[in-house]
C-alpha cells in the first residue's frame, strides 16, 4: 500500500512540476491574454513577438538608442514587457482598426480581430503593436497625438488626405509634434529595422522602409522631422 502511495505521489509531483515548466517555457510567459482572445489571434501575436525577439543588429541610430536601446530582439521584448502586461480583444471603435489602448486599463493593449483577418506585412502589424504600447505610458500622458495643421500638406505641397475616403487629415488628431511619441517611435523603430537589422530578410527590411516613410509624414514639427531625417541619414 505504501508503495502504491509513493508511486502516486511521484506521479503527481512529476506531473505538476513538468506542467509548470512547460507553462514557463512558452513564448512570453508573462503576457496575459483575456479569455475572449481567440486562439488564432493569441497565436499570431505570440508568433509576431517571437519574430521581434529574434531580431539582431550591430548598429542603431541615436534616436533609436534613446527609445529602444540597441537593435536587438531582447531589448525590443523588454521594452514591450515594461509597458504591456495584458492583451484584450476589442473592436477599437472602428471597422478598420487593428489595435488600440484605453486609458482606463493601463498596461493593456486591445487587439481587434482585424489583426489576423487583414493580410498585412508582418513588420507593419508589429509596428502597430509598438505604436499602441507607446500609448500606454501614463507618465507621458499616454503620448497624445497633436492636431494636424490647416492646411496639412505633404512634401510635394499637396493636401494630406485619406486615399480611401478622401477625408482631409487637417484638423484631425492624427499627427505628432515630437519624435518620441507613438508615430515618431514607430517610425524610428521601422527605419532602424530597415537600416540596421542584420538577420532580417530583404522583404522585411524593404517593408520596414516603406511603412516608415509613410509614418514620417505625421511628424509636423519641422525641427523634429529634420532631426529624424538626420538620424536616418536621409539628409
Amino acid at each position: 500500500m505504501s508503495n502504491q502511495l509513493s508511486a502516486l505521489i511521484l506521479f503527481f509531483v512529476s506531473f505538476t512540476s513538468i506542467s509548470a515548466w512547460a507553462s514557463d517555457a512558452r513564448p512570453r510567459p508573462d503576457l496575459r491574454f483575456d479569455r475572449d482572445v481567440d486562439a488564432s489571434l493569441k497565436q499570431q501575436i505570440l508568433n509576431d513577438l517571437e519574430f521581434m525577439g529574434s531580431l539582431k543588429g550591430s548598429k542603431a541610430t541615436p534616436l533609436h538608442r534613446k527609445i529602444f536601446g540597441k537593435v536587438d530582439g531582447q531589448s525590443y521584448l523588454r521594452w514591450f514587457d515594461d509597458r504591456v502586461s495584458t492583451v484584450g480583444k476589442n473592436l477599437c471603435g472602428s471597422d478598420t482598426a487593428v489595435a488600440c489602448v484605453l486609458s482606463a486599463w493601463p498596461n493593456k493593449i486591445w487587439m481587434s480581430p482585424n489583426y489576423t483577418k487583414f493580410s498585412q506585412p508582418q513588420i507593419a502589424r508589429l509596428s502597430v503593436i509598438y505604436h499602441e504600447a507607446r500609448h500606454t505610458e501614463a507618465d507621458e500622458r499616454f503620448w497624445p497625438h497633436a492636431t494636424c495643421p490647416r492646411p496639412f500638406l505633404n512634401d510635394e505641397g499637396k493636401d494630406v488626405r485619406s486615399i480611401w475616403t478622401g477625408a482631409l487629415l487637417q484638423g484631425e488628431p492624427a499627427c505628432d509634434v515630437t519624435a518620441f511619441g507613438s508615430y515618431g517611435s514607430q517610425t524610428i523603430l521601422l527605419k532602424n529595422i530597415a537600416l540596421n537589422c542584420d538577420n532580417c530578410t530583404e522583404k522585411v527590411r524593404a517593408d520596414a522602409d516603406l511603412f516608415a516613410n509613410d509614418q514620417l509624414i505625421r511628424i509636423i514639427d519641422p525641427s523634429s522631422k529634420a532631426a529624424m531625417k538626420k538620424d536616418f541619414g536621409m539628409q
Binding site: 497565436q43 499570431q44 487583414f118 493580410s119 508582418q122 507593419a124 475616403t165
Partner: protein
Amino acid sequence: MTKKNWIILAISVLVLAILIPNIVRWAHHGLGSGVTLSHPETETPADPSPAEHRDARPSPSATPTPKGLSSEDQRKLSILNEIFASKNDNDPRMDSDLVNLSPELKKAMTESYRHLVAEKRNERGTIVFLIGRELKDGADVDFLKSVLMEKPCLSLSDCSKPVAMPSEEELHLAGMNETTANYPQLMAIRQMEKAYRKWAEAGVSNPLSGQVIQAFREALHSPNPRVSDEARRALESLGIN
C-alpha cells in the same frame, strides 16, 4: 502489483508527462523556425464576419502547382506556400531559396497572384517583391505594370467596398492600412525603381530601362491617386521628366 511494476508505471507516466506538453507546444509553435504546423486561417473563428465567409473561396493563400514545372521550381513554390501559411515574412528561405527564379516559376507565380483573392495584400505584394527583385525580361516588367493598373483596393476587409466615413480611430492608423491596401503597387514601383537605379549606376544599358520608365508614365494616369503620386515621385527621383 509488485514494487517493480509500480516503478515501471511511474516512469512511463513520467515520460508521457514530459512528451505530451511538448507535442502540444510543437504543434502550436512550429519546430523552431517560426513555421507553424497548423494554418491559423483554417481554424474556426469565434465570430466569423461576413467577409470571412466570403473568403471561403478556393484556397485563397495556396498557390496551385502547375504541371510542367521542374522539381526544383515545385520545391520553391512549396516553400512560398509554406511562408504564406506561416505569415512569417522573416523566413530566411525567402533570401536563400526563393532566388534565381526560372521564367517558368515566375510565370507560375504570376498565375498564383491572379488566383489570390484581392484582400491577400501581403501575399500579392510578396510575389511582386520576389519577381521584382529579379527583373530579367519583358514579361517581368509587364507583370509589374499590370499590378500598377489594377483597380484600387478600397478596404482591407473587402477591396471592392469603400470604408464608410472615417472615425477618429480609423484616422489614427489609416496610413498603415492605406499603405497595406496599396502594398503590391508600392512594392512594384519600388522594385522597378531600384532595378533602374542599379542598371544606371552600373553604366549598363538595359533594354528593360525604357519599359520601366514607360510603366511609370502609364501609372501617372492610374485611377489610384496613391499609385500615380508614387510613380511621379519615382520618375522625379530618377531624374526623368
